[in-house]
């Protein structure tokens, strides 16, 4: 099967039982995607798969032949950090950093969903536009746990990135 990971094409033989997460980490050596729970409960393994945030531990690799995967290390351009990455640095959005690549990918995906007009569980008016309020961002980031409890910094970082996106658009 082939996978494009952070702009590099890979061709790899995988056992049908291999998850996308294990294919990335163990077969391709892409360690910017993390294994936390391996059961879809923590978000550490989040990447952007064909542009959308996705848990790689809950996917079989063979089911994603030809997919385009972006991990946290593929986000920025050249030496420039992605605005979400910069925001995590600015606000200390981490402590040990283990959940961070997943948090960052999830935040990028969540902000895209917000821009596309996707509602969330806390959106008051289903037919209106959701705003990147603190409540919205908390809800939209709820699939990413942080064992260090760096949530205050994570939330501040995602708010900053959301604000920049609004200004830019």
């Amino acid at each position: 099967m082939t996978l494009a990971v952070d702009g590099t094409e890979h061709t790899v033989d995988v056992d049908t039982r291999t998850t996308l997460l294990d294919a990335l980490r163990e077969r391709l050596g892409v360690t910017s995607v993390k294994k936390g729970c391996d059961h879809g409960q923590c978000g550490a393994c989040t990447v952007l798969l064909d542009g959308r945030r996705h848990l790689t531990c809950l996917s079989l690799a063979v089911a994603h032949d030809g997919a385009e995967v972006t991990t946290a290390s593929g986000l920025g351009e050249d030496d420039e950090l992605h605005p979400v990455q910069q925001a995590f640095l600015d606000h200390d959005g981490y402590q040990c950093g283990y959940c961070t690549p997943g948090q960052v990918c999830s935040a990028v995906g969540a902000l895209d969903e917000l821009k596309e007009g996707h509602p969330s569980h806390v959106t008051e008016e289903l037919e209106g536009e959701a705003e990147p309020t603190e409540e919205e961002l908390r809800e939209r980031m709820s699939g990413n746990l942080c064992r260090c409890g760096a949530y205050a910094g994570i939330l501040a970082a995602v708010r900053q990135a959301a604000g920049e996106q609004e200004v830019a658009s």
């Binding site: 039982r17 391996d38 059961h39 879809g40 996705h54 848990l55 596309e116 509602p119 809800e139 699939g143």
Partner: protein, 335 residues
């Protein structure tokens, strides 16, 4: 994990033939439940037939009749369906239920069909070291005497007290969805109430589908009640948790008299529990809190609880009252 053959069929006929003809084959959708079950040893298929490449990934809206009809392909992802403008306008309960489930990532992966066929999160079902009749028929039910906080309070049996975990299914029960199913003998339309079953003495069977029958889509018809509808979910944390109790409600009022009402409960039974007794008690009555509570009491007449699950009864009473009174407020406020 057992060795796995992975197949990508060209069309639904090929997919149905592949699974129907092999008792050890299973369909693979978004994988959010099944891939975990492969790892946990809860599912041990020898062949997976991946249906995500099949052309069942669109939402068609038909507006020629009196009410809009949505035909939702089984592969439509939960996040895309929740955001669909026609669903948000005409059947908000379905959108709300989807948004109350799982996380942003999982909603991007999970499919409409797969969501309905996900399996219980009963802690014993998921633990292969304990007896569980649903996982291993005849082995016994550990939840009867064990940790019972999540147990069913209506329609359970001596063999199984598990609850159905889907939020979407509760909403679809409330709006009388029709499930489109393809089998070796052709297609059939399954009224939503007939899709899931109570455990009886066969708790290993969650649904009435035969092995190899494929859910190809779901059909929804809007109604005055479905336009004033919502979903309330009570859980242990604010987000990303399964329901302890949930309520899908839809309401159509004539002044303050109930013309139509739909109530379905999650977290209560082995299947999404459509509260038809309560609905019948409310139809034609003035919608007051007392009327709702009386109707709910009638629905709960046969409830059976333990010390650990008894909290669910006041929870479902209060959540149902809150949901319907909130909807009544909306109905009375012309938007």
């Amino acid at each position: 994990m057992r060795e796995l053959t992975y197949l990508e069929p060209d069309d639904t006929t090929e997919a149905v033939a592949a699974v129907s003809g092999d008792p050890e084959a299973a369909y693979l959708g978004g994988g959010t439940n099944l891939v975990d079950h492969l790892k946990l040893g809860l599912a041990t298929p020898s062949t997976l037939v991946d249906v995500t490449g099949l052309p069942m990934d669109t939402v068609e809206v038909h507006t020629s009749g009196a009410e809009p009809v949505m035909r939702i392909g089984a592969n439509v992802r939960n996040s895309d369906l929740a955001a669909h403008p026609v669903l948000r306008a005409h059947l908000p309960v379905v959108s709300r239920a989807l948004l109350a489930g799982a996380s942003g990532q999982i909603r991007n992966q999970a499919t409409t069909g797969g969501n309905l066929l996900q399996r219980t999160r009963c802690v014993y079902f998921q633990d292969t070291t304990t007896p569980c009749n649903k996982r291993e028929p005849g082995s016994g039910c550990s939840a009867l005497q064990g940790y019972g906080r999540y147990n069913a309070v209506l329609g359970a049996s001596d063999a199984c007290v598990a609850t159905h975990p889907s939020d979407l299914a509760v909403a679809l029960a409330a709006v009388d969805a029709v499930v489109l199913v393809q089998g070796v003998d052709g297609e059939r339309r399954v009224p939503f109430a007939d899709l899931h079953r109570l455990p009886g003495d066969e708790p290993e069977r969650d649904t009435t589908l035969a092995h190899g029958e494929l859910v190809t889509g779901v059909e929804l018809t809007a109604s005055p009640a479905s336009r004033t509808s919502t979903y309330a979910k009570v859980r242990d944390r604010a987000s990303y948790a399964f329901a302890l109790v949930s309520v899908a409600g839809a309401l159509d009022l004539d002044e303050d008299t109930v013309r139509d009402v739909r109530i379905a409960w999650g977290g209560i039974a082995h299947k999404p529990w459509r509260a038809t007794v309560a609905e019948d008690a409310l139809r034609g009555k003035r919608l007051t809190e007392d009327a709702v509570r009386e109707a709910v009491e009638a629905e709960l007449a046969d409830a059976s609880t333990t010390d650990q699950s008894a909290y669910k009864l006041p929870m479902v009473r209060n959540t149902t009252a809150h949901t319907l009174l909130t909807l009544a407020g909306q109905a009375g406020d012309p938007r």
